[in-house]
């Protein structure tokens, strides 16, 4: 029973991992930008949420009305800059690493490294839960999962079934050729970058609902988020969701059956094995060379 409960909680919180990973995965897959600054955007989303809730008394979930457009703009600007500088793949990794360092330090200088946490009065979701017999679904994790599923599912449908989405995928395959078919990659890039920024805002909001904030936490997301990106397959949104849930489930189970201390061990071992056997993600169909 404990195992079932832990697995369930883990799987639900996996929605948050998936949401964090989604933006990174799409910019990497479609724009070939490995944007480590995405972690900085999530951090910014989290702190903005905190600020709006404590300062303006907004409902935590409603803050996305403000944070998502703001971070959409920031994400689009970032993408514009990467495009201008012709930063792809490795150079983008380095540049965005630098940006992340700057962001984390700025957050530290602004909010200090104190742990910030929404008080129980400001955050009605923190301790409520939904009971299904012996199983309990905490509201925050449930929210994390539902929002992530909606966001990622929507993104997936958009990519698969709209002209825009097809354009993006053609673009991901070959930029020059896609450009020859009239796909304006700049505008497309801004849109993708912006959407990634907005997803970071939502992820930051959900993180703030369940956790204490401190700037250095952004580095701690590295492991789990990259695990989800890689396991899900770079650029594969649905894969990201499945991988997020899978990683959450695995952590929950390992921590109950074995010990919480072995959880990172199993997780990183899983990444390494996955990288070796399925470097393009667990759900990748291989094509002809």
């Amino acid at each position: 029973m404990i195992a079932v409960q832990a697995a369930l909680t883990g799987a639900l919180i996996g929605g948050l991992y998936a949401l964090m990973a989604a933006g990174l995965s799409v910019t990497w897959g479609v724009l070939r930008v490995i944007n480590l600054a995405h972690f900085g955007l999530i951090l910014a989303g989290a702190y903005l949420t905190y600020e709006l809730v404590t300062g303006w008394g907004l409902d935590p979930i409603l803050t996305v009305v403000v944070t998502a457009p703001v971070l959409f703009g920031v994400g689009a600007c970032l993408q514009w800059a990467y495009e201008r500088m012709n930063m792809v793949e490795f150079n983008s990794l380095l540049v965005s690493f630098g940006l992340l360092m700057v962001t984390i330090q700025l957050a530290t200088n602004t909010w200090t490294a104190d742990f910030r946490r929404l008080a129980a009065t400001e955050n009605p979701y923190a301790t409520s839960s939904l009971e299904l017999g012996r199983l309990i679904l905490p509201t925050t994790t449930l929210l994390a999962f539902v929002i992530a599923a909606v966001f990622i599912g929507g993104g997936h449908l958009l990519l698969r079934h709209t002209f825009l989405g097809r354009g993006m995928r053609a673009f991901a395959q070959d930029r020059t050729v896609a450009a020859a078919f009239g796909i304006d990659h700049r505008r497309l890039g801004l849109l993708v970058g912006g959407a990634a920024g907005a997803s970071a805002a939502v992820a930051g909001m959900i993180f703030t609902l369940t956790n204490s904030l401190t700037p250095a936490v952004a580095y701690e997301w590295f492991g789990i988020v990259f695990a989800v990106v890689i396991l899900g397959g770079v650029g594969n949104l649905l894969g990201t969701l499945v991988a997020g849930v899978g990683v959450g489930l695995l952590s929950g189970l390992v921590s109950v059956i074995w010990s919480p201390s072995t959880e990172p061990f199993v997780l990183f071992l899983a990444i390494i094995l996955a990288l070796l056997w399925r470097p393009h993600g667990l759900f990748h169909r291989r094509g002809v060379a």
Partner: protein, 416 residues
Amino acid sequence: MHRRLLPALVATLTIVAVAACTTKKEPSTTNQNPIVVGSTLSLTGSLAATGLIHKIAGEQFLERLNARGGLLGRQVQWKVLDDQSDQAKVGQLYEQLISQDKVDLIMGPYATPNILSAMAVAERHNFVMPQHTAVLAPQLTYDCQFPAWSIGTTPNRFVPNLLLDAVATLPRPPKRIAVLTSQSGSAAFVTDGLGDDKTGMITIAKERGLEVVVDAHYAPNPSSWGSIAAQVRDAKPDLLISNSLGVDTVNALTAMKQLGYRPPLTFSLFPAPGPLLGLGADGVGVLSVSIFEPNKALIDKAGADAQAIVDEFKTKATAASVQFPVFETQAAASWNAWEILVAGVKGAGRIDQKAICDSLHSRGADTTFSGHLAFDVNMNNFWPTNLGLKQIQNGQWVMVWPASRAAAPIQGPASP
């Protein structure tokens, strides 16, 4: 090769030459010059929340000291650098303070790993180093480090016994305990002991006939608390012992609350004090360790100055937007450390590291909040501990154990 190497060679030589031509101004020793104390504190990074408390307390102490004429008739200045909570930086910064800035005295940094790194440098240069909060007593082997917060030479025995003695006095003493342990320095030490000494919370609880129903270790900052919470909930312990730092206990309790569970009684080893109070009703009754809480009984006992110090700290900390602006264990430890340094210098009558160290060994130090401290080299200078237990009662931390120093009696869980 010539073309490539020559500039490098010339540059290297120039650097060396410049360094060699350096003629350092020796600090003149006239009494007009202030005494400079150097230290680092974690002003940014993961330890910054507490680092800031030590900074405010230190500045407040020096303000008062200087207002009363300073030390040896000289004003005292404090040069504090930010080690960014990075242990690897601490050593280098202390080197910089001692060798380059040529500070007269040093004060320890905050948190055990940083203190141990600083101690290595202090030992290399034979500097006296009072330190606030290092817990790993067996590793603090340098003769001239002086703890300001003594948790005894064997915290791995002392803390479990302290806690279990205290809860044994409750009307319904706990029988089943769950132990959560963060795998970081001091917390794991209290649970498992250190090196060959495997005594700790687990073994002592078993010796006392308690049943350990959960013994879970986790790496610092676990990604999710859900599974740990589920484990504790299903084990139904009478007492949850969270040997952890910072906000771990808050996170664990919140996750349990989400599962509709609240442990009857909770002990948290080294928590950030603010967030636990922020839990509101869910935090009521949580126990932790303390050397000082600003409860009236304790303040009165500490003497006339204490109330003023506590009030002034609160004003300063609030102004610096510290989240939990209360003069408690951390600030008191800081105060002790400065008083140790001052006592040493006064005892020696001059700025001479050896003399200061000897004076402290022979005469000890008087402190406002912990009384007279005597340092025994054989005990790594750890004085008989005055550590007690505090508990959240009526929305604030209250000293509850030992009975002789308690401001209020310890409270058990409310009847189910």
